[in-house]
């Protein structure tokens, strides 16, 4: 096991940031820590990296207790922090060389690694640029290059795509998949469920410093009865009508927000037809109709009663 975190407790005064948090990461995985802002993802990462003091619990990385002076362990870890951590006074290639040089002493090997990292994130034509001349997306790519240049066995990315345009985001996600194919184990934190769903082989859902659920995306979705979800755009729906809908066969949950009726089923057939028949019978006019498979947001909603984006 590459990372083994057990019963981790971290308090900021009265605030319980991590509440007996557990995390196990096996070699070769892409583990996603998914949770809303303030759920404790970054705190957990900082504890794992020995940057933060914690009140209780154990952290082992590469089978060894993680300590601030565990340089042998640190040598195998790469970090891409949430805030871009580069020197504005150094050019792109100098930044990558600087951070790579903190891990790799041999100048010749380092030169090769820096070239590969710059090439990997697609910053070849910007290598002589200073960071302030780069767009947000390119800056994020530089941030990643500085974290991966030394070819870490374990790569920790803390919300690496915040504020990034879709093109750069896709490139970043594809890059992470490629690193994983090359043998890097990845821990990826995000509050974007689509990213986590698209990228991660295993997902840990967090809220209020706790691990709420762990599994593959299929396993997590199976946790919420696996039924379909139907959404209908309706201009007006009375509370009485909503209550009636909740009593329809196989309906497990129904709510109406922003002129949109969302209904979840736990099985059954022709659920959509039954719902539309009901609306017609009540003379309720509706616009577009969607039938969806459950998402991680539904899983989060099921467990916490809140939307992931709340």
């Amino acid at each position: 096991m590459l990372v083994d975190v057990r019963n981790l407790v971290k308090r900021y005064g009265d605030l319980l940031a991590l509440d007996h948090f557990d995390l196990q990461v096996v070699e070769g995985e892409i583990v996603g820590l998914l949770g809303p802002n303030g759920s404790g993802k970054t705190t957990a990462i900082n504890c794992i990296l020995s940057l933060l003091q914690f009140d209780k619990g154990t952290i082992e990385v590469f089978g060894q207790p993680m300590r601030p002076d565990a340089h042998d362990i640190k040598r195998k870890i790469g970090l891409v922090p949430q805030n871009v951590a580069v020197f504005d006074e150094l050019r792109v290639e100098e930044n990558v060389d600087y951070f790579c040089g903190l891990y790799v002493r041999d100048r010749k090997s380092r030169r090769r690694l820096v070239e590969e990292a710059i090439d990997f994130v697609g910053l070849n034509e910007f290598r002589r640029f200073f960071p302030r001349k780069l767009s947000g997306g390119l800056l994020r790519r530089l941030n990643i290059a500085c974290g991966i240049a030394h070819k870490p066995r374990l790569l920790i990315l803390d919300e690496p795509t915040v504020g990034v345009d879709p093109q750069s985001r896709n490139r970043i996600l594809e890059g992470i998949r490629e690193l994983n194919r090359q043998g890097t184990t990845v821990v990826y934190t995000s509050h974007y469920m689509e990213e986590v769903e698209q990228l991660c082989t295993r997902i840990v859902i967090m809220d209020k410093g706790k691990t709420l659920a762990t599994g593959t995306k299929e396993e997590l979705k199976a946790m919420i009865d696996g039924g379909e979800s139907v959404s209908v755009e309706i201009n007006f729906l009375s509370p009485d009508d909503l209550a009636q809908i909740r009593r329809l066969p196989h309906v497990t949950r129904a709510y109406y927000t922003d002129h949109r009726l969302s209904v979840r089923y736990d099985g059954g057939e022709h659920n959509l037809l039954h719902l539309l028949d009901f609306l017609k019978a009540r003379d309720i006019s509706f616009n577009r109709v969607f039938s969806e498979q459950p998402t991680l947001n539904d899983v989060f909603l099921e467990i916490t009663g809140r939307q992931l984006r709340d």
Partner: protein
């Protein structure tokens, strides 16, 4: 590893335009300003223009050969010229006095008369010259009448005191301003020290977090950063010194070696002080910068860099403060070169600066070496 961190740190600091402005360009601009504002102060204070005097060219004057000889010698053009003499008619003399072209009119009758329009320094000098002439003339006449052989002794004036310099130094009002400026430039090194600590602490910057995660010993990073900061700040102070010496032509005499040593000790103290503030003052980078500026101003004030008498007051009333204030030690080192030119006091200051720096560095590192933070 040390050289890797040092070389990139050096490059980083060199490209930090904002800090570079305050630590180098500001000092150069201030030196230029001082030069133009006070540059001619000494010349103005020490320069002397010959005093205009009109002598009524009458028969009595023409017959007084000694007076004519004395006035002519005092009007000889050259460095020692005291008077600007005009031998004119009485009307012309009056006219010159009215227009202010001359400070006084000398008229020889039975007695020598001096006519002035107002009392002032020039008028007083004219009066003193004439009084001295009259006194000496009478004395010589009396001696000639009684003992002619003694006349030679009257004219041979001998001084029984010897004027010697207090030190080898060449105290110059102007030089004091430029030494104070160099002391300020040394203290500005503290901004580099502060920047270093921000970039090394995970709870203050993302760069600090990334560097803390790397498998590099903290002492290596801290020392390499500090050496880079010291190199940049010392180079800046040397540039300032060269600019003052060769562009502004400020004469630092034969003390240049000691001045450079003071600058080095001052920069070491400055960088150490910045590190101390960066590690021990709580708050964000902006808060630390504000505190550092405030402390620098206070220390400079107490060192007499803004108001000279406070330095003496602090030395008398709170002597320990002078020994722990880097700005006071730097300024006192310069002061001992500038006033005394003697080196025991200078070396005490330099020694204290290095000791204080060692203490500040040790305290900073003890705090910086902590490896986990309460909050990131």
């Amino acid at each position: 590893m040390f050289m890797h961190v040092f070389s990139y740190r050096f490059k980083c600091l060199l490209h930090d335009r904002e800090t570079m402005f305050w630590t180098l360009l500001f000092s150069l601009v201030l030196a230029t300003f001082f030069y133009f504002a006070f540059g001619n102060l000494t010349d103005r204070l020490e320069s002397f223009n010959p005093i205009g005097v009109a002598v009524v060219d009458n028969r009595a004057y023409r017959n007084d050969a000694r007076l004519r000889q004395v006035l002519a010698s005092l009007s000889q053009p050259g460095k020692g010229q005291l008077l600007e003499l005009a031998e004119v008619s009485e009307e012309q003399a009056k006219s010159l006095l009215d227009t202010g072209d001359v400070a006084g009119v000398v008229k020889v009758n039975e007695k020598i008369e001096l006519v002035v329009r107002q009392s002032g320094i020039e008028e007083s000098i004219l009066k003193a010259i004439l009084d001295e002439y009259v006194f000496m003339s009478r004395t010589v006449m009396r001696v000639l009448a009684n003992n002619p052989a003694a006349v030679r002794e009257i004219t041979d004036r001998k001084s029984y005191t010897e004027q010697i310099s207090f030190s080898n130094a060449n105290p110059d009002t102007m030089l004091g301003f430029f030494y104070a400026l160099m002391a300020m430039a040394c203290m500005y090194s503290s901004f580099w020290g502060l920047r270093n600590t921000i970039d090394v602490q995970a709870d203050l910057s993302a760069r600090g977090a990334r560097r803390s995660v790397a498998p590099t010993h903290k002492l290596t990073v801290v020392l390499a950063d500090a050496l880079a900061a010291l190199s940049v700040s010392f180079a800046e102070v040397l540039i300032l010194l060269v600019y003052m010496a060769f562009v502004l032509r400020i004469d630092f005499g034969n003390q240049v070696g000691y001045i450079v040593l003071t600058c080095l000790a001052g920069c070491v103290a400055g960088v150490s002080f910045g590190s101390l503030v960066g590690t021990f003052v709580r708050g964000s980078g902006s808060v630390k910068t504000a505190v550092l500026i405030g402390l620098n101003m206070t220390m400079s004030f107490l060192a007499g860099l803004m108001w000279a008498p406070i330095k003496d007051l602090v030395s008398r009333k709170v002597p320990p403060l002078s020994y722990v204030n880097p700005a006071a030690l730097i300024s006192d080192a310069f002061y001992s070169l500038y006033i005394f030119g003697s080196h025991p006091r200078f070396f005490i200051n330099i020694g204290l600066l290095f000791m204080l720096s060692a203490l500040m560095c040790t305290a900073s590192f003890m705090k910086l070496r902590r490896t986990r933070y309460a909050s990131v």
